[in-house]
Symmetry: C2
Subunit: 332 residues, 2 copies
DNA sequence: TGCATTTTTGCATCCGGATGCAATTTGGAT
DNA sequence: ATCCAAATTGCATCCGGATGCAAAAATGCA
């Protein structure tokens, strides 16, 4: 095995058959007699032959690469997401090309890079312009949006069912005697936070809770802390804070307890989102919401490859249920 | 641009030159006259031609793919690491194939997969057997170990200088009147924790602190909490807890304060590792150590590609300084 | 056993760019 | 203008597998 690796020609020569026979032996559903197959496999074994994926890509016109675009936040805060995506893909012999976008949530550049790389499909958990979607369509590369929304023919979408889980949150708050609530949103351009806000606002209306005040933080701990701290005593007028993510919720808790001396959950309830490791700390015990990222990603992969087979299929738009995870920052 | 994408032949025809001319125009350092180049570029522009990376890979024998193996822990806890690696690679037109290994820290399977994929180089921040290293060598794929150690010719290594930073930690503890300390280690097979332990133990000897007791947790919050909680009142005999990572340190803090009623840092000092988001929470203000993952990864990439050019180069073993980040869980 | 099918097999060519070599053009110096 | 060296160009072939097609072999049926 020193030096160069064996090619199908080497195997063919050793097995005394043609290169085509070798190729066919390694492709499923191709005609090859038992005898030939055995000879080829023996020779391949001896030479340590593995079909070259690059040559395969060239002749099949498939790179067996899937592009995945995520935000920096997602990369860090969904523990199993990336791993399960990689695992799912690995099983079929495909791999993931990762692109990470920062707070701007602009996936267009990432998509352009992935297309240049000739990925077979793109899963995008970042913002996407119509122009980018069109580019994908022109290249016949299926594009699946994750927790984002875009009305463009041929683009499938999967995401969390925020409306549904937020209804449970609002109901829970109402049942525990809450009246006035604050939603801790993130700044402009944070699509995910906005979706959660919309879900919560709608849920309040639905269960008969007053419309929440909207407070804008930075989608991180300091942002949540500062936003609430700056409210000063005005914060005392609210019974609950629902945050777009856990770090902001924890920031809110620190502001409420350390700055205002309020007690949680007796005086005020706090709810986060994403069920991160922080939420489990005994110092906080933050009630949170867990997205089913595993399912979301595996569905996204399924949809992407499904469309590769059947480009004209009707557009899909899947909503995956999230789970409410009650802990000590809310009352029963 | 509907349908199939343009090839170098299409461009050649439109520009009225040979396909070789097109190829040469798109390869740096190849002879091509200004005139030809201009004609080709114009035609390419018109057809939206981009050289196919797959065909390129096949003829150049380079996939322009780098394998990166990380543990699940690393994937989540080094905020900028993955992103900066992806960015560094993207600049040169290369991409990263990610493999994530779980707590077993066994990178061999991941490496085998990457080799089958024909990556050009492999960066591995997980355990590697000699056999796997040999396989890489046979395939002429440079292997760079990150925060791991293996004595095998041709394998380069980069990692944090634990000995150095731990010396600072031990000195700081000594200067603040500490005598007996505990190192919160993780279980068998956690290479990173073990490296940090060795660094700390050596540092204690170096600065004249008593040899620390070793306590084994699970490398996570619950593990740290339980390990310290189970010590019971015995924990009161120690002046400081140095943990192999932040979650364990936070777990220790919760056990010390909530279970034993100790106060931090007055009664006992606690130090974590990795400077995660948790460490910055006002409820903990954990003193920690920050690895310079950005530098570590970019050096790893540099070394890997360097060796691709110069396979016989002397083995490198680089130590990157970590930073001590003092916060409220230690005294000045 | 003989003839018609169905399988299996090998040949040749394709996928899309890179490159050694020889032919041709260009440029410089005289 | 003339000759030589250097730069440019095109041709042909390679990278390693996949596959349509036609020839060859194996199988079925009478």
């Amino acid at each position: 095995m020193r030096g160069k690796r064996a090619t199908s020609y080497d195997v063919a020569k050793l097995a005394g058959v043609s290169q085509s026979a070798v190729s066919r032996t390694f492709s499923p559903n191709k005609s090859a007699s038992k005898k030939t197959r055995a000879k080829v496999l023996a020779a391949a074994q001896e030479l340590g032959f593995v079909p070259d994926p690059i040559a395969k890509s060239l002749s099949l016109g498939r790179s067996r690469l899937a592009g995945l675009v995520v935000t920096q936040y997602a990369q860090q805060n969904y523990p199993v997401a990336l791993k399960s995506a990689v695992d799912v893909m690995t099983e079929t012999g495909d791999s993931i090309l990762l692109q990470i976008v920062d707070a701007t949530d602009d996936g267009d550049t990432a998509i352009a890079r992935l297309l240049r790389r000739r990925v077979d499909v793109i899963l995008c958990a970042a913002g996407v312009s119509e122009a980018a979607a069109r580019t994908c369509a022109e290249a016949s590369v299926p594009l699946v949006l994750i927790n984002r929304r875009l009305n463009f023919a041929g683009v499938d979408q999967v995401g969390s069912n925020h409306a549904m889980v937020m209804r449970g949150v609002a109901q829970h708050l109402k049942d525990t005697g809450t009246r006035r609530t604050v939603f801790l949103d993130a700044g402009e351009g944070n699509w995910v936070a906005a979706e959660r806000r919309r879900g919560y606002v709608a849920a309040c209306a639905h269960v008969g809770l007053p419309e929440p005040d909207i407070l804008v933080g930075d989608f991180d701990y300091e942002g949540g802390f500062k936003a609430v701290a700056q409210m000063g005593d005005a914060a005392r007028n609210f019974d609950a804070f629902v945050a777009a993510n856990d770090p902001m919720a924890i920031g809110a808790i620190d502001a409420l307890t350390l700055e205002l001396g309020l007690s949680i959950p007796a005086d005020v309830q706090v709810i986060g989102h994403d069920d991160t490791a922080m939420a489990r700390l005994r110092g906080y015990r933050l009630t949170s919401i867990r997205q089913d990222m595993r399912t979301i990603l595996s569905k996204a992969i399924e949809m992407a490859y499904g469309r590769l087979e059947e480009p004209q299929r009707e557009d899909a738009d899947l909503l995956i249920d999230s789970t409410f995870v009650p802990r000590g920052s809310t009352r029963d």
